[in-house]
Subunit: 313 residues, 2 copies
């Protein structure tokens, strides 16, 4: 059953956060949604962490008119996998994003203008430390689990390794403990595509730089599918609408990238995209440790890892 109509919530913390970079960020606003009731001893909370371009809108609808429910609606609700009759499910928009939490589109209190590139470079660890402010604020001592995929999985890993006493388990989907050189290279060309767009204006745009951002997202879509699943989905089929020998004629896979790229520019901010790309590339669960073993050594929390064979990275 669906959770029905939900309202996003928002809290602003006056606390300033000292980031991994040494820079200070604050005040910090976090937008979040909750589904189900917190029990009396606040011991039934599950945190779901979102991916690169996700939001706090995990499940349900903001209004009857909203055409699509939250991004993982299928598993959240009464009787569903994350059963809201038993659990209080929480999803928080990460800092750096453009869906309400403090990010490059927010107003910089020191200047009264949008941060844009004045926003500090953040890490996944910074995102998680900001989330901890909210979990503390809600009076939750220990989460039942932290669960997420891709960049959400990195957050779950950070929760487990940095704050092991604050959660009973972590579930990590389709995530690398540290992106490979190839993954970084693909994000690098995505960034480059935005930098190349003259309407990006070093981050000082009024309108999202659409051609650069669409291309950047197109690069992302290549990595969302493995070679095998891309072959299964598109093969070498040429667009039926185009001539094979038209200079601008497209293969089906090419149309798919273009279509998804341009669809993206209406819903995501280019600077946020860049900051989160950077956070992804910098991510290393063993940050500050000598090895992966050392990073996981103090972790008494059971971590479940899942990978998808249809995902290239």
């Amino acid at each position: 059953m669906s959770v029905g109509i939900v309202q996003p919530q928002s809290v602003t913390f006056d606390t300033e956060l000292r980031l991994e970079s040494g820079r200070i960020l604050g005040p910090i606003t976090l937008v979040f949604e909750t589904y189900g009731q917190l029990n009396a001893d606040r011991s039934n909370a599950i945190l779901v962490t979102h991916a690169w371009t996700g939001s706090a809108h995990l499940a349900g609808r903001h209004s009857e008119e909203e055409t699509r429910p939250g991004w993982w609606d299928e598993i959240v609700g009464p009787g569903r996998l994350l059963d809201t009759d038993r659990y209080c499910v929480i999803c928080i928009n990460v800092i750096g994003s453009c869906y309400g939490s403090t990010g490059p589109t927010s107003t910089n209190p020191r200047t009264g203008k949008r941060y844009n590139l004045g926003f500090p470079v953040i890490t996944v660890r910074d995102m998680v430390r900001a989330q901890l402010l909210l979990i503390d604020h809600l009076g939750i001592d220990r989460l039942v689990t932290v669960l997420g995929g891709s960049m959400g999985g990195m957050q779950a890993l950070e929760w487990a390794t940095q704050f092991p006493d604050r959660l009973a388990s972590a579930v990590v989907l389709a995530t690398s403990p540290r992106p490979s050189a190839q993954a970084i290279a693909l994000n690098a060309v995505a960034r480059w595509a935005i930098f190349n767009d003259p309407t990006w204006k070093k981050g000082e745009y009024r309108k999202n730089p659409k051609d650069g951002l669409a291309l950047a997202r197109g690069v992302g879509h290549i990595t969302f599918l493995s070679d095998e699943s891309m072959t299964a989905k598109f093969g070498r089929r040429f667009s039926a609408r185009d001539g094979l020998f038209d200079f601008f004629g497209q293969f089906e896979v090419e149309r798919y990238l273009t279509y998804n790229g341009y669809n993206f520019v209406d819903r995501f901010d280019a600077n946020s995209f860049l900051y989160l790309a950077k956070a992804l590339d910098l991510y290393d669960v063993a940050w500050g440790c000598e090895s992966l073993e050392e990073a996981f050594q103090p972790v008494p929390v059971p971590i479940q890892f899942f990978a998808f064979t249809s995902d290239w990275l």
Copy 2:
């Protein structure tokens, strides 16, 4: 031993070529180089076919001042693998390229101006059919071998399957008989990067659109290395000159892509890049056949295939 100083040669054919697309291309100029002497019965010729951004300048130097020899100098010369004491080695710049043979930078005889996007879409088969004009012109009935890598390997495959009586063997390096959806997707984003560059002007530029072309080449460089070799070469090392938390700070792999991308724009034309990318994507050795088996069925020519594990595609 090096072949020493060599001179590029050029022939223009008045013959018009009917392309796979049905369009006509002509007159056709081919630039080529030869190393070693053709024997009396012209039975000692080897054709080396070049890759996407290659040229006819396979070996030796055009002058004492030239800093670097031809692109495969190590294997061509007296006593070298392709022994010019025994063989006459030939390399021909493909049509569509920007190194002398007819391509989008050539003058369109119908307009008196550069072809630019008025150039027809060509295929690897068209390239090979143009090469056949020259092999006929040189009076060579049968090549000892046709040898090439990447797009050069596609040409070798086309020689073997289309003109099996014109060669005794083919050597195909690091080539796919048809690019996969993923390979097409990567070329698609490379094309897109050029289309996005406002200085490209739908092909009517005076100066190469450098940011778009550099990015396109950067995408190419990702595919030239496998995940493993990229990890071995760069790992997750961050540029020593940049701060880890600088917004524009780069990983080593990112610097490498940028460096190679911008190095490329001085030596290759953007429109040629686009036309050859298209030819690569359209390439299918079984073009016009029901299957790969049918394509290879009439081929009595021994074909040797080599692949490199360090190459991603």
